[in-house]
Symmetry: C2
Amino acid sequence: MAVFAGGVPWRWLGLAGLVLTLSLEAVARYVRGRRRPLCEVLFFPVPVTCPEPALSPGLSCPCPLPHTDSALSRLLRRILAAQRSLELCVFTVSCAPLARAVLQLHLRGVRVRVITDSDYMAASGSQIGALRSAGVIVRHNQTSGFMHHKFVIMDRTVVMTGSLNWTMQAIHTNKENVLISDDQTFVKAYLEEFERLWEEYDPATYDFFPDKDQK
Amino acid sequence: MAVFAGGVPWRWLGLAGLVLTLSLEAVARYVRGRRRPLCEVLFFPVPVTCPEPALSPGLSCPCPLPHTDSALSRLLRRILAAQRSLELCVFTVSCAPLARAVLQLHLRGVRVRVITDSDYMAASGSQIGALRSAGVIVRHNQTSGFMHHKFVIMDRTVVMTGSLNWTMQAIHTNKENVLISDDQTFVKAYLEEFERLWEEYDPATYDFFPDKDQK
């Protein structure tokens, strides 16, 4: 029998190589299959349901609202899954259950940063005051033009964007969408936009009378 | 030398299998590498520039506006790349260059379908009338609550979504984003939403006096 240096037969060396390669390919395919990218889209409006199953899991709620799952409860759970950081960049924030989720993260020690639009943050029902009172840092535009984004980044790994303002009307009445992705190209682009705006809206650089010098 | 039935040495059979498997893996990696998914995000506002380089490529324009590239011209080129179909589902459409791009597609034989919000389609500056006059089919909500989506699907293969309404203020003044993806999970979800709304807003089912029976 023809043998390789060291006494290993050629036939075994060839077959072992073949088996090893096929095994590695199978493992690679298995890992790729398990690590499925996050691609989810939530559509609104949804009927009014109780937010407690998402906000306080494990506690039973006696309220008369339905306690069923909805796009809102899935949105709440996605936000509450943040462990380290949350960047919220949303035009209007007046939906109390969503603001409660943000507050929970803040109280749990997650680094929460909020950017919103100056025209709407003091509007009736806005939750921005409640977030600020609890110690969440909020920055906003001071120039003309709306800060019209509606995106959120969780743990620098997942981004949500779409048409949904954080209002009760948007959630329960309007046709709206929220795309959720963990594609790092998207996450990086939105993180860079957030950091740009965070610097631009730094209160240390406020000029409350931008037209003063022109008069 | 030990030989396999048919006279082929074991060593060659094993090595040939190894080489074949490694080659197939290399080809698979090459193909995966070349077929890069489309992951793009456009951010606004952008300065006012001439839209003609995107709308009429090859023609020189004498206007005094800058003829440079921008997020708007990239958005226009993405839309104009549609070959077969365009589903437009946008709250407000008053940006003339974007409406011209849609009109070009329609005149070129692309199947264009538009869904928009009833409250804003007759507002000053709206381009919906011009699209309808040219023969583009437009459907709209007739109930309370906004048709607040801002998404577009090209050739059933690429989807755009985000905060951007198709208005000049949004493009040139507001902070806005448009995410562009050819991920088929996303495309399918938005196509299904479009078809749902297309049926829901079918004029054959209009009830212009929804509260009539309640009075």
